[in-house]
Symmetry: C2
Subunit: 337 residues, 2 copies
Amino acid sequence: MSKSPVVAILGATGAIGVEVVQCLERRRFPLSARRLLASARSAGRRLPFAGREQPVEELTEHAFDGVDVAIFAAGGSESRQFAPLAVRAGAVVIDNSSAFRMQADVPLMVPEINGAEIARHRGIIANPNCVAVIGAMALWPLHTRNPIRRIVAATYQAASGAGAAAMEELRESTRASLEGRSYEPRVLPHPYAFNVFSHNTPVDPDSGYNEEETKIMQETRKIFGDESIRVTATCIRVPVLRAHGITLNVEFERPFAPADAREILGAAPGVKLVDDVARNYFPMPADASGHDRVLAGRIRRDLSDPTGRSLALFVVGDQLLKGAAPNAVQIAEALPR
Amino acid sequence: MSKSPVVAILGATGAIGVEVVQCLERRRFPLSARRLLASARSAGRRLPFAGREQPVEELTEHAFDGVDVAIFAAGGSESRQFAPLAVRAGAVVIDNSSAFRMQADVPLMVPEINGAEIARHRGIIANPNCVAVIGAMALWPLHTRNPIRRIVAATYQAASGAGAAAMEELRESTRASLEGRSYEPRVLPHPYAFNVFSHNTPVDPDSGYNEEETKIMQETRKIFGDESIRVTATCIRVPVLRAHGITLNVEFERPFAPADAREILGAAPGVKLVDDVARNYFPMPADASGHDRVLAGRIRRDLSDPTGRSLALFVVGDQLLKGAAPNAVQIAEALPR
């Protein structure tokens, strides 16, 4: 690949696409040309680039001619349809959707954790689920010292995970609620103003788990490269605009002193320790929004495990950032040039 | 005690006090007289009663003369100061604060669970923590069939738990956020608009648990009368006006089929099963607010426990209702007359 690749961003006008575009600029990714791709509906819009405005092109079968790296920030159906075309055109696809994540020949990458996986890609590299990335960033440094056996996760997921329209629905429905007006949900299936609800992805009638939970459970094992880790998750949407929270109850192979875990996370790349007991100051979406690092705190013994092998913690990360855009750009940076 | 007792409500103008007053009326509690007590600041206000208006009296040392039942819906310091005076004046105190809950000679009552405890009171009966009540209502029917060994809880707690002023702060700060204005928190220590944060009660520097979590852990064991149950909790405030949610991962003594748990909870008193997988419809604060019953759903196997002995579920209950006021009134109804 060229030292200055041509980079295409698919879904450039969506919640994650916008962050990818900004992240490429912020990290001064050495691209020679940028192609903005979106559905016909958004084509023709113009986004700022290098002091000028650049038009958004319509996504077609030939959109990837001459493209070296294609960052897909659209939905799974677009990825399934266009990723093979992009690969055939010679591009490396970094896919933010769930379409290919669990395929054996597709690396599921968090560069800080399993960067070596990049060597085995065959055209497509998958960006993990945003909650899985945020949890993995906090748990990996602990796992390398004392292997994780079991994870019980409960999430506090923001509107941003459902896209820009869901964020707008949260704002609009909350405004309506405060003004005593009724509001009919359009994007999400339940009232969102001052309400929480079980994640809106379909629930498997056999297991009882929704797709988001299943992703977290499967992807965590794949990212960690350890199929023996037992994981369960309950995914709940909360009326937060961006940044997801996760409570984690984690069982390790051996006893783990909270002070040791705190020290490890305080030094971990991509993690910021926020664990101020005296001030009652811990990770919050209000602090995580707009930040690339994952915030970790509330680190303490899980007192329901008398063996001392379990810890409890609370982590928060901006799902549009480390959970999505910068992780994709980091993967692009790691591609051999 | 008289068949038509004189009932005093302490903190009658607060978030819980208002619900107690309404609950006494709704359940047609056979009182002969009602006394509304509050701090000097609220004294003189008038509340409707039996078609007329009744003044709120100032809480003084002599406020309990002639009172048979005193429902305390104020804070722990008021309870510690005035409950002994009320008992000395001959009243039975039903205390909603945490002041006496863990005292060995004070029953900690949820009538559906441990109603027989009422026989051993010595003047004070404690109403449990609202989250503990909501969780216990859903778990007790399961526990009686298959004893619980371990509970891992993560909460989604509403503003109502911090009182009417916190509910107003959530509304006001959210309005400010939507209008692009800044807002300085006055009631809670962190920004509340579109944000979640670790529960605002003090954190014990040794255990790392906050007071709310400690209450849930201790009180669940006391309500269930089983000190062997291992419990851990992570308490998080979410921007919801009223009704608390709890994710529960529960280990039982023996394997538990989700279908059996569903059937048990579908028939349990005070519980409403809301578990519609096909419609992705599960317990939500929007549905629980204003309802006495606890909503339970998302019942499924905890796949991180390969023995089949663990279930996961999500419950939501209006903390001002079953979590507080009706539970207190139910205790009053159960007093021998």
